[in-house]
Amino acid sequence: MSTLQHRLRLAACSLIAAAGTSEVQAVESPWQVDTSYLSYTEADDRVSVSKTLANLNRISDQGVVSVSLVHDTMSGASPTGAIRSSDSAVSYTSASGSGVSAGSGGDYSLGEFEDTRIQAGLGVEREHSRGLTLSYGGVVSQESDYESLGANVGIARESVDKITTYNAGLALTTDTIYRSDSGSTPEPLGNVQQGRPFSEGSRDTVDGLLGVSRVLNRSTIAQATVSFGLSEGYHSDPYKIISAADDQDRILANFHDSRPASRFRTTVFGKVVHQIKDTINTIHLSYRLYQDDWGVQSHTADVRYRHQLSKRHYLEPHLRLYRQTAADFYNRRLRVDEGLNPILPENGFASADYRLDTMTSSTLGLKYGVKLAASTDLRFRVEYLDQSFSTADYDTNSAVIFQTSFKYRF
């Protein structure tokens, strides 16, 4: 029997059988919950994060309402940017304790921390009229040293033939930043030893996006977006430090991180999703070009290949490659003159944050997914992240990510 007749047979049987059971629910599974546990562990006992997430979706005639909750516990020690002091044993100073001013000769190169973050989000998506979908959302995030409030709106317009979808989005974010120990931010480029607390930092951000997605052929969808982000306010990192040192790396003074008061980011993003001929295996390819007015430019390529082992099981290898140039004001250290006085930058901006250094970063991952029942999915994945930095004192970083997710519809 041909597939056509077979499919028609199944469709007709289910049609007639469904009417026999007189009470059929209007929407079969209006609720969907997706929960996940993730551990992120960096090598050399640096940062470790435990993350618990839950997304609850309510799907109704009018659209989708979703609630998301995230709980993170983070601990460890991350490089502050200060040069590793060679004349003393490594010691950790606590960001949530008494500050980093632990006395002369101390090593400021790692900042210990321990924190908890809670994030809650609400999103509503509804079809306003034929082919026109509006979405609204809000996010709140709270840590001992950071508060964030965000709101977003989006609009998506589908063409009559349903081949092309245009979308636009706008998000506003307001962040409050301070050190958990002092409740304020340190004076940018202030001497660490003098430890003068400044004010609470605040930053406002507006992000905008224009995108289009299109069905290219029977088995391919493509997406292209351009987006921008403009933020104004406090951009420095209150825990990061830049050392003034001589050519032998002898530290003469340590200064707090100091970054410009605004940042303008632009990205171009493209993605293709393709189902490979005569299979149900899919390939996801994406590329992002990022550029900002701090001098950072980056390229990101991402490939995922989902191989269906059977209708229920799949394996998904993942590869991500990333490369960035350093920010203009990034420096491993501040130089000193003949009199051993630190040479402070003319524009007042300096940061030794390894994340602003020239960097390459690669991620290799594997995911396994299984459909346990019609309404239940289970996914496991492991990813290995490897970063290397051009000049940063800690010139590499690597991390292993484990994630287990469970999706249930009811």
């Binding site: 998301s68 393709h274 899919t282 490659l321």
Partner: protein, 83 residues
């Protein structure tokens, strides 16, 4: 301590995949008029532009806190003070 350099290996892997997958590349780049009934394959969860929203959110957060770049695919708002 674990560490190995797979980025070179990976780059070679991608190139090999792309070369050997010439017919796939051609399939992807073929633009054809797609009728609604020809979209059966496009409806599945694995063909969505965001196939795993939960995972995407996590990844965005991780890379936001480990790299200088952010954004691209969507705007959502909300930040964090991650190290």
């Amino acid at each position: 301590m674990f560490r190995f350099k797979f980025s070179h290996l990976a780059t070679v892997g991608v190139c090999v995949t792309l070369l050997s997958g010439c017919s796939t590349t051609r399939d992807i780049l073929t633009i054809s008029d797609v009728k609604p009934w020809q979209r059966g394959a496009l409806a599945g969860e694995n063909m969505q532009l965001v196939s795993d929203p939960l995972e995407q959110g996590v990844d965005e957060h991780i890379y936001f806190s480990k790299e200088a770049s952010s954004g691209g695919a969507r705007v959502q708002g909300g930040g964090c003070g991650c190290n």
